[in-house]
């Protein structure tokens, strides 16, 4: 019999029996909602509250995105997730030379408060929760969301949602960094501190596992992500924040691929490790501080350009894994993910995948249905051991921040990505429709692809210029001046950013002020 391994290289035996269960299984599992949370972070899990169906959307100008959001809400989506275009993510206004060709492409363009107001026109911000995949410019977008809510008459303490605000994974894998590592961490903690004080329902960070999509295997994905969590917790403690004040607001974001059982085991193991880490390393007493609250994407690199409809099957398997793994919020990518941002049909079908798993199957009917499975419990234990092994190595190398500073993590990820590609091309891993059972002649044409016309870029350029021309210029300039002074001090930067945003300072102007004070990150050589 040939040897079988998981994507992380853990051997899978042909048969598991009661002998594979740990003698202290009950202690390793605990009751759902109780330490160590292996069975889930809440006692009733999906019987109490189904996972949030939160599809990542946004493109073109604020008006198009407002229309898509209203459509998704009408189709039964339960939370919003804003995709931002790259200029917004990197702090360039739509009329900046660096933004040419990128405006409104991979997400919506937001230049000023006027854009945020339009995106949420007719969507009451006390009735939805909104997630922003935003990092380097997270303080600005968060400030704009708060200011938009205020204009709707919704008080800051009532708005709920998430800013990704995880810069470590930008250095490690996703690449949307702006400032050097230390000021980036400062901004992350500024947002965490501000939300803890002023926006108690807002998740100030979503510690994300993009390392996986860049090449890391599931064990490394979990180890890097949880180690980043440790680094943020350490940074908050160093700032003087009380662990039980900020830890309940830390949230996580994961990648789920089709390696079904390994994904389920990964989530169960990760919950156990995080609970122990917060309790034992940081002395967190509150259960809320120990709960690994998690969102995820089903899709990413697991989806293929070839025979794109196959991706519907893939995301279905992934959504099943997530439901059995007990996560809180799910985004299923659309079948045309490898081509462009989704068409309306593709976006609707992706949402239906989740609804089918949630309502047609019985996976959500009982808590942690796989508990006690010889295979799942054995694999959960093995994953936990392996993840802890990599986390220990990161600690020995000085922690996640140092491992990113030196480029160690980036190199490991690059090696893994190359290794995967070679395995794919040698046929060692099989992806139907790609390297086996493939029909290349079918791949010569595209599926219907969503197009972002270049006119949208011109419209957005005019829009930001109009905002600059019509605002109270003296007020904006004064607000930016105060921000600059605050950046040179050790003050929390959120209050001056909120002031600048209210004065209709643009994303590019605010980022520009901070760039002048902090400089720009220079990555280690590849």
């Amino acid at each position: 019999m040939t040897k079988k391994t998981t994507r992380s290289g853990i051997e899978i035996k042909p048969l598991y029996t009661a002998a594979d269960l740990a003698p202290d299984l009950d202690a390793r599992l605990g009751a759902p909602g109780e330490y160590p949370f292996a069975r889930g972070i809440y006692p009733t899990m999906y019987r109490g509250k189904l996972w949030t169906m939160r599809q990542y959307a946004g493109f073109g100008t604020p008006r198009e995105t407002n229309e898509r959001f209203r459509y998704l809400l009408a189709e039964g989506q339960t939370g919003l997730s804003v995709a931002l275009d790259l200029p917004t993510q990197l702090g360039y206004d739509s009329d900046a030379p660096d933004a040419a060709g990128e405006v409104g492409r991979v997400g919506v363009a937001i230049d000023s408060l006027a854009d945020m107001e339009e995106i949420f026109a007719g969507i009451p911000l006390d009735q939805v929760t909104t997630s922003f995949t935003i990092n380097a410019t997270a303080p600005i977008l968060l400030a704009m969301y708060q200011a938009t809510a205020e204009k709707q008459g919704v008080a800051p303490e009532r708005i709920a949602g998430t800013v990704q605000n995880d810069l470590l994974k930008e250095f490690g894998s996703r690449g949307a960094w702006v400032f050097p590592i230390d000021p980036s961490l400062r901004l992350c903690v500024d947002v965490i501190q501000y939300c803890t004080d002023k926006l108690p329902r807002f998740n100030p960070i979503s510690i994300a596992s993009h390392y996986r999509d860049a090449g890391a295997n599931p064990v490394e994905e979990a180890a890097y992500t949880l180690s980043a969590g440790v680094a943020y917790a350490r940074a908050c403690v160093d700032r003087g924040l009380a662990v039980d004040a900020f830890a309940p607001r830390l949230s996580f974001f994961w990648y789920t691929y089709t390696n079904f059982f390994e994904e389920i085991a990964k989530y169960r193991a990760a919950r156990r490790i995080w609970a122990a880490t917060m309790r034992d390393r940081f002395g967190a007493d509150r259960a809320d501080s120990q709960r690994l609250r998690s969102a995820c994407v089903c899709g990413g690199h697991s989806l293929t350009k070839q025979e794109p409809l196959n991706n519907i099957a893939r995301t279905t398997i992934e959504t099943m894994a997530v439901a059995l793994g007990g996560l809180q919020s799910v985004f299923t990518a659309a079948y045309d993910e490898a081509y462009a941002i989704p068409t309306e049909l593709a976006a609707k079908t992706a949402l239906r995948v989740q609804q089918i798993v949630a309502y047609e199957t019985d996976v959500a009917a009982t808590v942690d249905p796989l508990a006690g499975s010889y295979f799942v419990e054995a694999l959960t234990d093995e994953m936990e051991r392996a993840i802890r092994g990599v986390m220990d190595e990161i600690d020995r190398r000085g922690g996640m921040v140092e491992c990113l500073r030196s480029g160690w993590v980036q190199r490991k990820i690059g090696e893994r990505a190359y290794e995967w590609q070679r395995k794919l091309e040698s046929g060692e891993v099989v992806i139907p429709g790609v390297n086996r059972f493939a029909s290349p002649e079918e791949n010569q044409h595209d599926v219907e692809v969503h197009r972002v016309p270049l006119e949208l870029e011109r419209a957005q350029v005019e829009r930001v210029r109009k905002v600059r021309a019509e605002r109270d210029a003296a007020r904006t300039a004064a607000a930016l001046e105060r921000l600059s002074a605050a950046a040179r001090s050790t003050d929390n930067l959120m209050p001056p950013v909120v002031e600048a945003v209210r004065a209709y300072a643009t994303v590019g102007e605010i980022t520009g002020v901070l760039r002048r004070v902090f400089g720009t990150y220079v990555p280690p050589v590849f």
């Binding site: 790259l86 060709g101 990128e102 960094w177 990505a417 791949n443 010569q444 590849f526």
Partner: protein
């Protein structure tokens, strides 16, 4: 003895997903080529300047954000301005429908997600061989000055030599 082909792998535009660029860089290195990887968010101007300074034989671009047409047009214009005849190949998220337009802009080849590493390596090697052959005829022995009097015939030759597909 032939010099090792020198390839610039560039990541223009604002997108930070460099998995593909790094995998290609590793594969070209393993195939014995010298690879200059620019890192993220490098402007078309910087890419063309580096390509000239490093006397590369081929420019490979990785673009996933949908900005490929804008970026390739800019790079083609800059190469023309400097009278550089360096073949450009593009990989990433490029709809099939956009390939003819990129070819019109002077892109020698476009590699989608379905392209294999051996295909890409072999095509790049052919383009590099054609490019340095053209250069020796033009300007024997003098690396560093890769300017041509007329880019067009060289480009046509490079295209004919490529046989990877």
């Amino acid at each position: 003895m032939a010099r090792r082909p020198r390839i610039l792998v560039g990541k223009p535009g604002l997108d930070g997903h460099d998995r593909g660029a790094k995998v290609i860089a590793s594969a070209l290195r393993d195939a014995g080529m010298e690879v200059i990887y620019t890192g993220l968010r490098v402007s078309p101007e910087a890419i063309v300047a580096t390509a000239a300074q490093e006397s590369v034989d081929v420019i490979g671009l990785s673009i996933l954000s949908g900005a490929h047409e804008t970026i390739c047009a800019r790079i083609a214009a800059l190469l023309r301005e400097r009278e550089l005849d360096i073949p450009v190949v593009v990989g990433g998220v490029i709809p099939h429908a956009d390939v003819p337009r990129l070819k019109e802009l002077g892109v020698a080849d476009v590699f989608g997600q379905e392209a294999t590493l051996p295909q890409i390596v072999s095509r790049v090697r052919d383009l590099a061989a054609a490019a340095s052959e053209g250069e020796e005829i033009r300007d024997p022995g003098a690396r560093g000055s890769r300017a041509t009097r007329s880019g067009e015939p060289e480009r046509a030759k490079a295209d004919n030599k490529g046989g990877a597909k």
